[in-house]
């Protein structure tokens, strides 16, 4: 899977996940992978994420920490309010969209 393909699927799923981050399924706010319904595609996304984790570590970790915090009702992440953290994530999404012309 190319980076272009990955981000064309992952970023919209991430946006959906952020839009629904107020819904908590018992200590679990669904991350972007839950919004990729096609199982085959989800496996490809998972594989890409694992293979390229170091390359996009800052992005993947930010996303993971955000949803972990939302799942557990934490107010902040390393001293940053979750609401502020979310707005920064949204900013990062816009940068990646620009980068990959999505």
């Amino acid at each position: 899977m190319s980076e272009q393909d990955f981000f064309s699927i992952y970023l919209p799923a991430l946006e959906k996940a952020l839009a629904n981050d107020h819904v908590n399924h018992g200590f679990n706010v669904l991350g972007p992978d839950w919004y990729i319904e096609n199982k085959t595609m989800r496996k490809k996304i998972d594989a890409f994420e694992e293979k390229n984790f170091e390359k996009y570590q800052a992005l993947f970790e930010s996303i993971s920490l955000y949803f972990d915090a939302k799942s557990h009702n934490f107010d902040e992440i390393n001293g940053i309010k979750t609401s502020e953290y979310k707005s920064r994530l949204i900013h990062q999404i816009s940068l990646y969209k620009k980068k990959f012309t999505l």
Binding site: F53, Q57, A58, S64, A69
Partner: protein
């Protein structure tokens, strides 16, 4: 509300006949990796042995796998996703040798390839990385003392403390003591607790006690015994990225190599 875990930990350690590790609560430094890495190894060893002896064996393994006093990475324990501290430093050195001119904090990811080091730089981690590159023989204390400030307009470093693998200093040790903190629903009602180092709640390795609804990742699955379903369960979080979100040891990963991967 926060309760320092120190006294409980001392009691547990005394009961477990590993009282020589009480230094943990007095002046030692608990690094994130040591805490959960030791727990991981201990649980594994304990379960392997079985019974009371197994539990004591597990605690012994915890004792052997922790390096509280120095805060250095535990010998033999490898952080998931990161081979070893020397490898990390080698990677950083290599990066800064080839990017010697890169002293500016990027304002956009559009400037070039998004290598993870560059991303980290954009997130304000550059100063410490450069310090490591310029001082390849620097000790942990020196590195620990060189904590970069946030880069305005960018995300402040978001790495759990385990990634920093630093240590040293009584002040740091005191602030790094494990603490018990209540977990609450949005209305404020207490519905569990979490134990982790420092004052903050998330974004770090920790021991949690709350209900588990579903796996943290769509491709993973929860393997909670029927007796414990819909009850609060003790579990822990460790690692980086999606690994940190996993409800260990109850969650089976989509690409786990074997049973022990869930620990």
């Amino acid at each position: 509300m926060e309760i320092t875990l120190c006294s409980s930990l001392v009691r547990i350690l005394i009961e477990a006949k590993v009282s020589d590790r009480i230094a943990v609560c007095v002046g030692g430094t608990v690094s994130g990796d040591s805490f959960t890495g030791g727990l991981h190894a201990g649980l594994k060893a304990g379960l392997l042995s079985g019974g009371t002896g197994g539990v004591l064996g597990g605690i012994g393994a915890v004792k052997n796998n922790l390096n509280f006093l120095t805060g250095k990475p535990t010998a033999g324990y490898q952080h998931p996703g990161l081979a070893s501290s020397s490898d990390i430093q080698a990677t950083k050195n290599k990066f800064w040798k080839t990017h010697a001119a890169n002293t500016q904090t990027p304002t956009s990811i559009e400037a070039g390839p998004i290598a993870w080091n560059e991303s980290i730089n954009a997130y304000g981690m550059g100063r410490r990385d450069r310090f490591w590159a310029q001082n390849p023989g620097a000790g942990w204390d020196e590195q620990w003392g060189f904590i970069p400030g946030p880069s305005p307009g960018h995300i402040t470093p978001v790495y759990p403390e385990s990634y920093l693998i630093g240590g040293g200093g009584a002040f740091k040790a005191a602030s790094a003591l494990p603490k018990l903190k209540w977990l609450r629903v949005s209305g404020g009602k207490i519905n569990g607790f979490t134990i982790s180092k420092g004052a903050g709640y998330g974004a770090k390795p920790r021991l949690d006690f709350h209900k588990l609804g579903r796996a943290s990742k769509a491709s993973n699955s929860l393997t909670v015994p029927k007796l414990l379903q819909n009850r609060k369960i003790l579990h822990y979080h460790r690692g980086l990225g999606n690994n940190l979100r996993r409800y260990r040891p109850w969650e089976k990963g989509w690409n786990d190599k074997n049973f022990w991967s869930r620990f």
